[in-house]
């Protein structure tokens, strides 16, 4: 039994934490939240220089050729710091889509620039306030041209290219969808930033009018590929969520220990102690589920889809709980703009919706359980 990260991976994690503690204190997150800047460009540049963006990209495509376990430990630290950078869009989504579906030419074209941070990629599937599905998606990809609107697209306002899920055939079947890769600076693309609950991470509406695009993967495979990309991203994002949940627990604990009321520290009241114990329990369950996801992702296990759903559901639950109860522990101060609690409350909800809501993942998880039970 070796269900833990290696010493080297733990060292990488420590380095990441040290780096982000220094370069990305919450005032950096706040700066993006309170300004029109879409992301922290200086931090992004440094992250690129350290090679994090190419952690799981093979060396032949300009990456470090490490693996997904290494990416998981970095993701946890980015979550702890609530880093205001387009990491998840570019690394968990665009890079993973290219890794599993890209042709060699596409990999050669995009991966080195993703690894260096020169290009930012994103993944565009949502079309407004409803879950995207073969029945609801309207954007089309036909004859090498994209038409339609995708919104909200994380980092869509700053990305250089997007992987887009669109209709390539008539009907509402799963085979009616394909993935396309499109240059967002090209003709026929317009974009507008959309307002969201978390301005420390920007999102945009992308409109395509006959924009030239390349197929990514075989025609008709779009829905299946999108689910596979989301599974992979779910594991990585689960670590980001676990990091965020842990940060909330630490904040709540520190505040409770130093806040006095009724003549004693509020951390001595059972109402607070039990609240924090509950947070700890959910966080540990989430961490353990995320570890299993990491194992499944790093070994391309047959159970990856199930592991990813478990990691996502558990991490979403833990971060949501920790971020809201952190505010509650802080009392009135927690509701102020001045304190940092709301940074994590916002981020928690954004991450919980980014790859689809828990409701959808729970349904998918039970699909896997049903199949397993039959087999």
């Amino acid at each position: 039994m070796n269900f833990d990260f290696s010493d080297d991976q733990k060292m990488l994690k420590d380095q990441a934490r040290k780096f982000l503690t220094e370069k990305c204190p919450t005032k950096v997150v706040r700066k993006i939240l309170e300004s029109d800047e879409p992301y922290d460009k200086a931090l992004w540049k440094q992250i690129g220089e350290m090679g994090w963006l190419g952690t799981a990209i093979p060396e032949e495509y300009g990456g470090l050729g490490l693996g997904h376990l290494e990416l998981c430990v970095i993701a946890e630290e980015l979550g702890r710091a609530a880093a205001p950078v387009p990491f998840s869009s570019s690394v968990y989504l665009a890079t993973e889509a290219l890794l599993i579906a890209g042709s060699d030419a596409q990999k050669k074209k995009y991966l080195p620039k993703l690894a260096s941070g020169e290009w930012i990629g994103t993944f565009a599937i949502a079309e407004g306030p409803q879950p995207p599905s073969p029945k609801t998606i309207k954007a089309t990809f036909k004859g090498g041209k994209l038409d339609g609107t995708k919104t909200p697209v994380p980092d869509g306002d700053v990305a250089d290219f997007a992987v887009v899920l669109a209709k390539s055939a008539d009907g509402a079947g799963e085979r009616s969808l394909s993935l396309a890769i499109v240059d967002l600076k090209g003709a026929g693309v317009s974009r507008r930033a959309v307002k969201t609950i978390d301005p420390s991470r920007s999102q945009a509406e992308l409109s395509f009018k006959g924009a030239a695009a390349d197929a990514l993967g075989p025609a008709g495979d779009g829905w299946d590929l999108a689910k596979r990309v989301l599974d992979r991203a779910a594991v990585l994002m689960a670590f980001e969520q676990v990091g965020g949940a842990d940060a909330c627990l630490v904040m709540a604990k520190d505040y409770a220990l130093n806040r006095y009321a009724f003549g004693r520290t509020i951390a001595s009241f059972q109402a607070i102690k039990h609240k924090l114990a509950d947070m700890y329990v959910l966080n540990e369950l989430a961490r353990s589920n995320a570890y299993f996801g990491a194992w499944a992702l790093s070994t391309n296990a047959a159970d990856l889809a199930e592991a990813a759903a478990g990691a996502r559901i558990s991490a979403t639950d833990a971060f949501h709980n920790a971020s809201k109860e952190n505010i509650q522990t802080h009392g009135g101060m927690g509701f102020t703009w001045e304190l940092d609690c709301h940074l994590y409350y916002r981020r928690s909800k954004v991450l919980s919706l980014a790859l689809g809501a828990s409701r959808v993942w729970k349904d998918r998880l039970v699909n896997h359980l049903e199949k397993k039970n039959v087999a």
Binding site: M1, D4, Q270, A277, S288
Partner: protein, 414 residues
């Protein structure tokens, strides 16, 4: 990351497996079989089978793998114990009667009694010839066990015991017990306690089963009327009983942390029930709200399973496991209660029925009636959360209003 054994673990697993195959029957595919000693209804018969199995294990030194060889153990590592447990769980063998004695009482006796005394008791316990129980909880001292009343008064070379214990598992078939008593009511509660061991056959000891709300009787009340215990059976110094009890409870935690009880209705049963139950809009398994609940409980169960894997990894690498193992019971017990209740909801009006009239022989109903006890036994949900808050997160202990007050001046309720 992998789930593989180290070469040493693999070798040990092979040895254990071979021995089990030669000495026990593998579990049938369905799990529940009439011959399975785990489901033996007649306790006298079950005890006989269990004692025979225990003697076999002890002979092979598998009864307590981590104990030193001079105490009849294998002198093995915690991970070897885990490997043994994993393999044993695949066989129809009895369990349960000796855990309290070997897990808690005997380690306390060996820690505090002389070598000769310990030698007298260790081997019979290991071989299942003598069974031990733990006499701590009282009617007015549950979570606050240090508030116990049972008096021990010195009389010559003896102590005379009067009082009552409660929730004593297995007292009715136990040969010995360790007993926490109050020897000095004039000092604050933690300071006036003293620990003894005694024969449960001593004159003046009366054991009465407690009928639980579930209908079963797994526990007892034990009454002490002028029971005499020689001073030579004292464990630790007079007044140091609390420290001795903490040693015992520390062993309890290690014993409990070793394996998670997987009886009763769980997600697999719920999944099966949802497949076979027809709701107003089709099979329950197709109902979105049912699916959502199944997924939530499944994820919790998996989270615990992988938390155990993290603990095992630490043991396998010779490290001290992190505090994450402390979350198990506070997750398991409420989950059992909610899941059982939900399963009964799926059965709707028919959910009231138990036994053969009910799906899966009433597994959900049984869990429903057992879960309230699980949330209390071995530390209530509330006490466990206090423990996580204080020992894991480092939050301050409760302000103790009884800390500096003599025990006999403490306010009491009814």
């Amino acid at each position: 990351m992998d789930f593989n054994d180290t070469p040493q673990e693999a070798t040990f697993r092979k040895e254990v497996r071979a021995w089990l195959e030669a000495n026990a029957k593998p579990k049938s595919a369905t799990g529940f079989s009439a011959e399975n000693p785990r489901f033996q209804r007649n306790e006298t018969e079950a005890l006989k089978i269990a004692k025979a199995w225990q003697a076999k294990k002890a002979e092979k030194r598998y009864a307590r793998i981590t104990w030193p060889t001079e105490n009849g153990g294998l002198g093995g590592t915690p991970i070897q114990q885990v490997v043994y447990n994993q393999e044993e769980s695949k066989f129809d063998v009895p369990s349960g009667f000796f855990e309290i004695g070997l897990g808690m009482c005997i380690p306390t006796v060996t820690h505090y009694a002389s070598k000769d005394v310990a030698a007298r008791y260790v081997k019979p316990a290991l071989y299942g010839e003598e069974i031990w129980c733990q006499l701590f909880s009282e009617p007015s001292a549950g979570s606050d066990v240090a508030g116990l009343k049972t008096r021990a008064e010195k009389d010559g070379d003896d102590w005379v015991i009067n009082g009552q214990k409660v929730w004593t598992s297995g007292a009715h078939y136990s040969d010995y017990g360790i007993l926490l008593t109050r020897t000095d009511p004039n000092v604050p509660k933690h300071k006036g306690l003293t620990m003894f061991y005694l024969s449960m056959k001593s004159p003046g000891v009366e054991v009465r089963p407690i009928k639980q709300m579930s209908g079963g009787a797994n526990f007892n009340e034990v009454f002490f009327t002028n029971v005499r215990i020689p001073d030579s059976q004292r464990l630790g110094n007079v007044g140091d009983g609390w420290g001795v009890a903490l040693t015992t409870l520390m062993h309890e935690r290690l014993a409990v942390g070793g394996g998670q009880g997987g009886s009763g209705a769980d997600v697999n049963e719920l999944l099966a029930l949802a497949r076979e139950t027809e709701l107003e809009d089709g099979p329950a398994i197709r109902n979105a709200s049912v699916r959502e609940r199944i997924a939530e409980w499944y994820v919790r169960g998996q989270g615990l399973k992988y938390t155990t894997y993290r603990t095992l990894t630490a043991l396998s690498q010779g490290r001290v496991p992190g505090p994450e193992a402390s979350i198990a019971k506070v997750v398991v017990a409420p989950k059992m209660q909610d899941l059982a209740s939900f399963g009964m909801d799926l059965e709707d009006m028919g959910g009231v029925m138990v036994g053969e009239d009910s799906p899966m022989l009433g597994a959900f109903q049984q869990s429903f009636m057992w879960a309230p006890g699980l949330r209390i036994a071995g530390g209530t949900d509330e006490i466990l959360k206090n423990i996580i808050a204080e020992r894991v997160l480092g939050l301050p202990a409760d302000i103790r209003v009884d800390k500096d007050i003599p025990y006999n001046k403490l306010p009491t309720g009814r």
